[in-house]
Symmetry: C3
Subunit: 299 residues, 3 copies
């Protein structure tokens, strides 16, 4: 089995099923007793070399729900790490204090580097524009729990498909489950060719979700556009509203990795198909599963 969680590309179909199976067991724990003592006495180091409050709190909640403890930092500013010490030395030191490390780092490849020197398992909580494998796994878990299956789904992915790390990883993973994709993006932010290889897909520049089972919404950032008017136009037309929802199937879901700004209107939140806060919640059992598997207390 995997010894670290660095990239979703390292996860076979079987690995993913294994993780989601464990996540399901963790979900049962959360929904019944609320927590477990499985990792009593164990220590997670939560090292955020770049702030990410949501991801950090999710990892830390996961560790606490397993009965373990947490040490760490939420931001390298205000730590002594701004000194010239290498990340490798920091990791080797913290590995001496802890049983497992969850980390986010602004540099591509930092998590892989960490796993090369660490004496304890590393979980990548996002490294640069590179990988964010626990996001992908929680996205898959969300789809499975909300729709009952991952197989043969129609998935509309909306927004910045060119630069979106989350989206590229998700597409790579869903490919193994024979998804039928609907890529919805402005011309400038279309899905790059390399990620479309071997996929069944259609492309759209208008926000037309068709008969999608899943609408996966992402944010479009102003920085991508050189012309502010172009940005405003795109921004205005890539918004999920109750009207959008009214065209969607009864059994379908709207997802979002959060934070959202205004790309899903507030009036949508009450619709049971809008599952983005459930999705945030599913991050906890997913991360519990990974931590427990890496520490050998769940197989």
């Amino acid at each position: 089995m995997f010894k670290h969680v660095i990239s979703i590309k390292d996860f076979s179909h079987k690995d993913i099923d294994l993780v989601l199976g464990q996540a399901d067991k963790m979900l049962k724990i959360l929904n019944t007793k609320g927590s477990s003592d499985m990792l009593h006495g164990k220590v997670l180091a939560s090292l955020f070399f770049e702030p990410s409050t949501r991801t950090r709190l999710s990892f830390e909640a996961a560790m606490h729900r397993l009965g373990g403890s947490v040490i760490g930092f939420s931001d390298p500013k205000g730590t002594s790490l701004k000194k010239k010490e290498t990340t490798a030395d920091t990791i080797r030191t913290v590995a001496a204090y802890s049983d497992i490390i969850a980390m986010r780092h602004p540099m591509d490849g930092a998590a892989k580097l960490a796993s090369d020197v660490s004496t304890v398992p590393i979980i990548n909580g996002g490294d640069g524009s590179h990988q964010h494998p626990t996001q992908t796994l929680l996205d898959l878990f969300t789809i499975k729990k909300e729709l009952g299956t991952l197989n043969d789904l129609k998935i509309a992915i909306v927004g910045d498909l060119r630069y979106g790390r989350t989206v590229h990883s998700l597409v790579g993973a869903l490919k193994q489950y024979k998804a039928d994709f609907r890529f919805i993006a402005p011309e400038l932010l279309k899905m790059p060719e390399e990620y479309k290889k071997g996929l069944k897909y259609d492309e759209f520049t208008e926000l037309d979700v068709g008969d999608a089972d899943v609408v996966y919404m992402t944010r479009i950032q102003a920085e991508r556009f050189s012309d502010a008017t172009d940005y405003e136009k795109v921004r205005g037309s890539y918004v999920i509203t109750p009207k959008t929802l009214s065209t969607m199937k009864k059994k379908s879901i709207v997802m979002h990795p959060l934070p959202r700004v205004d790309e899903i209107s507030w009036e949508c939140d009450a619709d049971p198909r809008c599952v983005y806060f459930n999705q945030a919640f599913y991050g906890v059992p997913t991360r519990m599963a990974l931590i427990a598997m890496l520490l050998g207390v769940a197989k």
Copy 2:
């Protein structure tokens, strides 16, 4: 019973007595075993959108003394929350990770807003100039423990009575216990009419504590004065010294919400009537009581 702790105004006389009764039980736990496993496996999210080290550590100590765990942040700077996400979305997300949320926010009404969207109980740890109900409850608990009763006391309140949030809440709560007030403030910072309605009170501009049972001292901030000389004069004359203490009754107490700067001189600290550090301590059992009550493990 109350489902959130947003404003002291929501607390009836009976609610307050209930909380103080529970706080007393928590105090016994602290003074005997030191802690409990009542909330083993539960997670408190401690969200400080504005720093307040004292209040934060008190809440977190309270949760740990109940056997629970804590996630959170101490400052929005150095988190990813400075992005454009709404507080409502942050709360909904964190509510998916935790069993209860204690929060401080610079914006008036933020705690109420949070309670409207949260799926878990919210405790207001201070919102803007608005409310800080746990401070009021711990003040009441302190008076009760130190003097044996809350009823029919003579309470001198000193300092910035015009803008002081703490003071307004305390006066509102003590009103229900038939307090006889002595408002001591410079002309500029007198208690506003609206808070004096229905009270038994006298007003003074000199620091004359009379035969008060409780002297509640607060800090006067330079910003309130347009003329620095006026400020220096006031500042110099509103200081509790051993001389002030010498005029006070044997059975009386000096309180302060802390931090103090120089409005109570250091030589006073050794006097057993100066109970401000006890007051800080009483915050822990008070917050333990609130957390346990909101989570349904204490009634």
Copy 3:
């Protein structure tokens, strides 16, 4: 027995042996069960008025491994402590929330001051250029574990021997174990006379470790030199490389308080004599021992 840990000077030979004996027991716990419930329900306040990620995480890991909980802050910026409150008041308040306080402070003597006002034990995690006793104790524990004894060793100490706080404390402690010292430093940064009194020692300006049992390496900071060329020269010649290692005895060790920048080359890390990451690890059982002894659960 000691009630606080403020300065290594307060520790007799017997005290040190006592601490190292306890640290050995803690090491056994870490190497077998991984943790203990000895301090279940207890709260450590970890107050870093100056950031020091390594030291902080080590203390917090130690407390968690003993089954206790942690509250605190990692940096006074982003706390409300930048206000004018005195350190004494902060300590007295936090002492009301916790069972023991570990603190780092930029001001010489801050830990002693804290111990004068605190109602709970204080452990100094470094105060200004003054004292860092837990570093010294973990250094001693490392030598004992790696070489089997502290007695009659040949100790080479390299780098900034003039200003290095760590080094002065270590020399003072090892004196009691009849060490034979080899002080290796550039002219400008030689060991001050006051620390050499009563010692058996030789002095060198070249990096010649001789037949040392222990090579204790420290960093030389650019700020110490008025002339950048002088600094570069020293910096280049005070580097441990595989070549240095090749001249060393088979049974010897290289230590470093970390963080290192480039004063020990990366190729050395694989050599089993380079024990600086073990040294970081030994900080955990050493601090566990101190916390447990101060709280009276280990004698």
